[in-house]
């Protein structure tokens, strides 16, 4: 079976279209980021408490919200009605996110859970451990350390990749590949901002995987260009690049489709915990494939012409 016959699409002639598409998506992302005041960071980076609890019957988020407006811990009143309270995968599961407070009482998260349990006596499981789905509590110190580490990780990964490609190919290729990667991360962060999804530690892992995947894709095409430049001496550089993309198009599509199928299945059936991770990966597979052809290659052509 063969899906992709031999093609000779002039991709480079379409690179302006690519510029518009990328520009539009990134522009929308930037506007959303400005409106939201930066990316939505999870408690991993900001510190705070995230609770997920399981009720035996469906509950209304608004009921939880009004219950959360008068939490009393040792007589100290708290109003958490303004915090983020939402469904967690199903109508019976609720997650509550509370930003870090300067003077939190001891056992803060557990006290809130006990309070919620008391507030809805008819709808909670008998055993407390069945009620608690998860508790995450990150101190502000850890939070700022993690963001520093994440930034450091991304920069050092990009640096090392730049170095490797410069050695194996040429510096122009390395620059173009890095630009394509930056494009991918920008687009994904922008889409996360538009969708109102928050960026947590696992999502950073997803971003880095996207970087890895997109790079993989770009390198395969670059590898063809490197090979074809030697054998197709009569063609112009643009034609060689087009030819190389067409040569590897079949592989690009098959690999992207199979990977996409896998992350799609993960997104659909993988469960609440992994859902956002899979979403990031899905966006990444599409964007990564696109950017190899419409960002990295036109840049290589342009940088080559500029020489």
């Amino acid at each position: 079976m063969r899906l992709i016959k031999e093609t000779s699409i002039q991709f480079m002639a379409q690179s302006r279209l690519g510029l518009y598409v990328s520009g539009a998506v990134i522009g929308a992302g930037i506007i959303s980021l400005i409106l939201a005041g930066g990316p939505l960071l999870s408690i991993d980076f900001k510190g705070g408490t995230l609770l997920a609890v399981h009720f035996t019957d469906p509950v209304d988020v608004n009921d939880i919200r009004s219950a959360m407006s008068t939490v009393s811990i040792d007589g100290q009143p708290f109003d958490f009605s303004k915090t983020e309270i939402k469904q967690f995968g199903s109508t019976r599961d609720i997650s509550v996110r509370i930003p870090h407070l300067d003077k939190e009482p001891a056992n803060f998260a557990q006290r809130i859970i006990a309070y919620l349990r008391k507030s809805f006596p008819d709808k909670v499981p008998e055993v407390e451990s069945d009620f608690i789905l998860s508790i995450e509590k990150v101190g502000p110190k850890i939070g700022s350390e993690l963001s520093n580490k994440a930034i450091l990780a991304i920069i050092s990964a990009l640096g090392l990749i730049l170095f490797y490609i410069s050695i194996r190919f040429e510096f122009n290729f390395a620059l173009s590949a890095i630009a394509a990667l930056a494009h991918d991360v920008f687009v994904t962060v922008g889409i996360f901002s538009i969708m109102g999804y928050e960026i947590s530690l696992p999502i950073i892992a997803a971003f880095l995987t996207i970087v890895g995947y997109s790079l993989n894709d770009t390198i395969v095409i670059f590898d063809r260009i490197r090979e074809n430049v030697k054998s197709m001496k009569r063609l112009t550089y643009t034609q060689v690049v087009d030819h190389s993309i067409n040569d590897s198009l079949s592989r690009t599509i098959i690999t992207s489709v199979t990977t996409f199928i896998v992350v799609l299945v993960l997104w659909l059936f993988g469960g609440e915990v992994i859902n956002l991770f899979a979403f990031a990966m899905m966006v990444g597979v599409i964007v990564g494939t696109y950017s190899s052809i419409f960002v990295a290659c036109p840049l290589v052509v342009r940088l080559h012409a500029g020489k």
Binding site: G139, T209, V262, F277
Partner: protein, 642 residues
């Protein structure tokens, strides 16, 4: 390519057998019922098996992940002698600065504040720490580093006695400890066990007259101070609103006052309504703003749970602290509220409050043995969980002196600054034995006995990061994760088969072989499979497919150029090789950086990704190649099913 493929097949065979043998225990483990596991735990064979299987991370199995940090401000205070208000103010300042700027280092801020407040360190520390401030700071720093190692040991000890399978307790950097307890259900109990400093102290309780006196002094201080008065009134007002919106503030106060000062306003089983009731004057709130928030319970004072916050806040005000230090006393509370019935028939949770001598008469380093049991006939806690203590000879001597000199007085047994009980001393105790009561249940008594046996922490620790996954979420995640991996895998296998026909079988084989091998490597490394790890496994599937797709597409291209199957395979492989290596090495770089960056879940992801890439490169280059070659070795092959 060498014509003799036998050695290659032998290598492939050996690896396959190794992978299956390595994975066998994990398969076996999956088949076990929970009773089987319990049996094996009893016979001691479980641990051997558990060491050989792929461990499931906390997110899959449920459990607790806690990062503890040594509380340096408290450590510095604990080590100091001759503490005064100035010293405590300085430490408090440091605490506040650190709360606002979590990035700053404790010792830098402490040094700054010392010079700012003109604190003379040598006044507060033993000469052993050095004569100059610098030397003292250095020795404190050393003490802190040393403390973390002892904390680690003690926590290890406690967790071992708690009985969790495969606990992980490790040091991170100089001041932190990471504890992972998989499969634990009762998170609150585990936290208490870890965080308890197990600091046992014995304080003499001040006489009712003295207590009465300090209460009226505080009343005066609050009354004369607009800010404090406002605070008391505001808190009382807030209470009224939260408790009962209908009641006007002043009304609520009058009610509580009449309840409070009625002679037998409250009844209780274990507090004998006594002769020396402390606060019984018929005063109104305006006159006694502080004590009107309290309740008298026999010869004890108690705080309604809803007033606890306000009371603690007032006690911590400098004006009140000054009064307390003049009287050389301190207030401490019981660990939990108890429910009492008021004369109006309402249930009210009350927390006992004690006024104690400021300094402890005996501290818990002297405990030799601690056991939880049920209080027997004749004891004050019949049928209640208690902890029996045995002291060493030095402790027994001190204990005997204290009890001998203070017959008739009450002594508070204080664990981690919470008063568990305050019995009256009846006779001199010479053998160092004593008992603690006042536990919510037997589990709590057992845990306290564990922490007392394991010894007290040299420095208090606080939880700075905590992740708890309930068992049901873990189980759901495993189910969903496994299901989606298998489904995704099946789809890819079918796709490859349809698309590449017979060669698709080779690709399918490579894919399954890859996953088996990655799992086997994980099992033999003792690595932990987390949810992100499953995600990485899926990515590995993608990488493995990609390597085969690159090769197959190249072979197809070569075939289209009219080459024979054999030369097509040879040149296809040769040309695909550099692509595969370049593409994989760059992803490998990302995986390594992730590993370096990694905390828990991300590290798990990076580990799986790293091995996935390595193995998929090996598979594509060595294993599938061998299989292809054995096809082309056959004479007369002139058509390749690809």
């Amino acid at each position: 390519m060498s014509k003799n493929l036998t050695p290659r097949y032998i290598i492939i065979g050996i690896i396959l057998v190794w992978a299956l043998v390595t994975l066998w225990p994990s398969v076996q483990y999956q088949q076990l019922s929970s009773e089987d596991i319990e049996d094996m735990r009893e016979s001691g064979t479980l641990e051997t098996l558990e060491n050989k299987i792929i461990k499931q991370g906390l997110d899959l199995k449920g459990g607790i992940y806690i990062v503890l940090e040594v509380d340096l401000p408290t450590l510095v205070t604990t080590l100091a002698i001759n503490k005064d208000a100035k010293f405590e103010r300085t430490v408090n300042d440091v605490r506040n600065i650190l709360a606002e700027n979590p990035q700053r280092k404790f010792f830098t801020v402490f040094t700054e504040k010392i010079s700012e407040n003109g604190l003379r360190l040598p006044r507060y520390y033993d000469v052993d720490y050095g004569a100059k401030a610098e030397d003292i700071l250095n020795s404190i720093r050393e003490q802190a580093d040393d403390a973390i190692n002892r904390v680690l040991e003690i926590l290890q000890n406690r967790v071992d006695q708690f009985g969790v399978s495969e606990p992980t307790i490790q040091k991170q950097g100089n001041r932190r400890i990471i504890v992972e307890l998989a499969g634990i259900q009762d998170s609150e109990r585990a936290r208490a066990l870890l965080q308890s400093t197990a600091h046992l102290e014995f304080f003499l309780v001040k006489s009712p007259e003295v207590t009465n006196d300090i209460l009226s002094q505080i009343d005066k201080a609050v009354k004369g101070n607009e800010e404090l008065e406002a605070l008391a009134a505001a808190v009382a007002g807030e209470q009224a609103q939260t408790e009962d919106g209908e009641l006007a503030v002043s009304n609520d106060q009058t009610i509580s006052i009449s309840e409070l000062f009625g002679e037998d306003g409250l009844s209780s089983e274990d507090a004998d309504s006594g002769d020396t009731a402390v606060v019984v004057d018929q005063n109104i709130f305006q006159e006694r703003p502080f004590s009107s928030m309290l309740r008298a319970l026999g010869n004890n004072i108690a705080v309604p749970e809803k007033n606890l916050y306000a009371i603690k806040k007032i006690i911590n005000k400098p004006e009140v602290q000054d009064k307390l230090s003049l009287g050389n006393g301190r207030f401490l509370f019981a660990p939990e509220a108890e429910s009492f019935t008021t004369n109006t028939g309402l249930e009210e949770p009350l927390v006992y409050m004690y006024y104690l001598e400021h300094d402890a008469d005996l501290t818990g380093g002297v405990i030799e043995e601690a056991n939880a049991t049920i209080g027997g006939q004749g004891s004050s806690a019949v049928g209640q969980p208690i902890v029996l203590l045995d002291m060493n000879s030095e402790g027994a001597r001190t204990w005997s002196r204290i009890t001998g000199a203070n017959i008739g007085r009450r002594i508070a047994i204080v664990l981690d600054k919470k008063v568990h009980m305050a019995p009256s001393i009846r006779t001199k105790i010479t053998d160092g034995g004593t008992l603690i009561e006042g536990f919510a249940n037997m589990d709590e008594a057992k845990d306290i006995a564990i922490v007392l046996r394991a010894g007290s922490l040299p420095a208090p620790v606080k939880i700075i990061e905590e992740r708890i996954v309930g068992p049901s979420l873990g189980a759901d995640s495993v189910k969903a994760g496994t299901y989606s991996v298998l489904l995704g895998l099946a789809l890819v296998l079918v796709f490859l088969l349809v698309y590449y026909k017979l060669s698709g079988i080779i690709a399918d084989f490579a894919l399954i072989w890859n996953i088996l091998l990655v799992l086997a490597v994980l099992a033999s490394l003792g690595a932990t499979l987390t949810l992100p790890g499953i995600a990485a496994l899926i990515l590995t599937v993608g990488m493995s497919v990609d390597a085969n797709v690159i090769i197959f597409e190249r072979i197809r291209e070569e075939l289209r150029k009219g080459k024979t199957p054999r030369t097509a395979i040879d040149s296809g492989y040769a040309r695909a090789l550099t692509t595969i290596i370049d593409a994989n090495v760059t992803t490998l770089v990302a995986a390594l950086v992730l590993y370096q960056f990694g905390t828990g879940p991300i590290k798990g992801f990076a580990t799986v990704l790293f091995w996935g890439i390595m193995i998929s490169m090996f598979t594509a280059i060595f294993v599938t190649r061998t299989i292809f070659n054995s096809f082309t070795e056959r004479r007369g092959l002139n058509k390749l099913s690809i």
